[in-house]
């Protein structure tokens, strides 16, 4: 007979509920009887749709978290923020260019940053949010893009900022500018695409299409990797490419498609 988890008390939308310890905030909300139709997505900490504001008993501070990634505590008082309002001036990536003041022109409020670091302290991804806003302020688009690369746009930073900066939108524009204008073109890629378009690989692809799922899996498991070049840059977006440490669980993918 399995042991029952002890019940704790949390306050949700101004009402107390007894829920088992060890649940995530999201699971506790559902245990309490709510159905989440907003503010819930991947449940894996990646989609950024479940930002939550809460206080702890005996602590005057406001805390923030992703509801799917944080365990409920006794005495917790919480409220869901299904999204953080975001208004930005529209821009056309084909007409703007990556100048030193491009980010400042689109988001003049970044000049109001007082470097209090509240954004960084609230980021569930552990990103140096204030540092990428500061990089944006001084026109270092590349650094802003790389430092904000793992942003999931949950908006918690923006909900806490005393200067009302829209951090995640600034990072998004920085990454767009970086991707479109600053990253180097890969001549090998263009060559390979041209070769595919002229039909150089059609015979091999046709042959693959005739294979069974088992044969495909066997081929997949026997695949080889190019040795990844050693890179000094810890922020390199390509550092993990060509690595045998494939982050994708390919077995699952094959099961689904097979």
């Amino acid at each position: 007979m399995s042991e029952q988890a002890p019940l704790i008390t949390m306050q949700l939308m101004g009402k107390n509920y007894r829920v088992p310890a060890g649940l995530t905030l999201m699971a506790a909300i559902e245990y309490a009887g709510y159905k989440l139709v907003r503010g819930a997505g991947c449940r894996g900490g990646f989609c950024g749709s479940c930002p939550t504001l809460y206080r702890r008993e005996g602590n005057h501070r406001i805390f923030t978290a992703l509801a799917c990634q944080t365990l409920v505590e006794d005495g917790m008082c919480l409220v869901q923020m299904p999204f953080v309002p975001l208004i930005t001036r529209p821009y056309d990536l084909y007409t703007i260019t990556p100048q030193a003041n491009t980010l400042l022109q689109h988001f003049p409020e970044i000049a109001g940053c007082v470097a209090c670091n509240t954004c960084t302290r609230s980021c569930p991804q552990g990103l140096p949010v204030m540092d990428y806003i500061q990089a944006s302020l001084r026109g270092d688009i590349e650094r802003a893009a790389l430092l904000s690369f793992d942003c999931i746009s949950c908006g918690i930073c923006s909900s806490r900022c005393p200067a009302d900066i829209k951090h995640y939108a600034v990072g998004l524009l920085a990454r767009r500018l970086y991707g479109k204008y600053i990253t180097r073109n890969a001549p090998d890629l263009a060559e390979r695409v041209a070769a595919i378009e002229t039909g150089d690989f059609s015979a091999e692809l046709d042959a693959l299409m005739t294979l069974s799922a088992a044969e495909l899996r066997s081929r997949y498991e026997q695949r080889t990797f190019e040795v990844a070049a050693e890179q000094e840059d810890p922020y390199s977006a390509t550092r993990s490419y060509n690595s045998a440490m494939d982050p994708v669980d390919y077995q699952d993918e094959l099961e689904v498609s097979g």
């Binding site: 470097a115 209090c116 204030m130 026109g139 270092d140």
Partner: protein, 296 residues
Amino acid sequence: MSIAYYPGCTIKVSAPEHELAALAVMRALGLDLHEMREWNCCGVVHSLATDNLIRHMAPVRVFARLQQQGEREVVTLCDMCFNTLARANQVARRQPEQMDAIKATSGDELNYDGSAEVLHLLQILRDRVGMAAIKARVRQPLHNLRVYPYYGCKLLRPTEVGLDDPEAPTVLGDLMAALGATVVEGNLQTRCCGAYHVVNRENLVAERVAATTAQARANGANVIVLSCPLCHFNLATRQSTPGNALPVLYYTQLMGLAFGLPPATLGLPDATALFEEALPTAQHAQAVPMCTKGER
């Protein structure tokens, strides 16, 4: 010798030529400036409100980061950054209880005891390198230049953080003399350029710029030299004599020219090739519109 370097946002966005020239000139003098690994805006303006501590967080964080990066001294080019950082440092030293409040507000992550030091590049040049060493490095003396040094406010005021006599400063003049230039003086050298009033009181700035440039011309100057990127913006873009504006250069750029460094390494536009030719003879330097910033 290598010193930590704090650029500031304005240098990066609006005055990259000053940085380019400064780094080139310091290399030529055997001094390496290494940019802080991570830094934030200095806070721009020193807050005079005694209870507005959040306005001191940015400069205090610069010092805290400097110490985290294993440094005690940092040099800056921007007069505004210098002034804001130096005044925040005074607060840290005189009112440690305010640092305690900032520390508490930051969730205990921002901890600074006031023991770091901010220096302006002009202090390094004057007090560490020395005018004699600068003079010795000159390859192409600026004999034909008549230079009007413009100081503005932030280098000099308030007195406690100013790096020179607030009424009769000499550092830029001494530097220009060391480069072989003739120094032209005037009582408007230390008057405020109008600063941020350029945003909403353009006439005020235009009048001040007109008075300063008129005095420089009347006293025979053919170039204005300064240090502050904000003064540079006002003086270079608000002269009302298009096509015949008095050139406005950073002292680092003139040092580079005197050291014989290529103009391209000093952030000087192509048009200044003319100016370079003029260096040995230089009678027509006045007519050369060197600063094209206004047309950007």
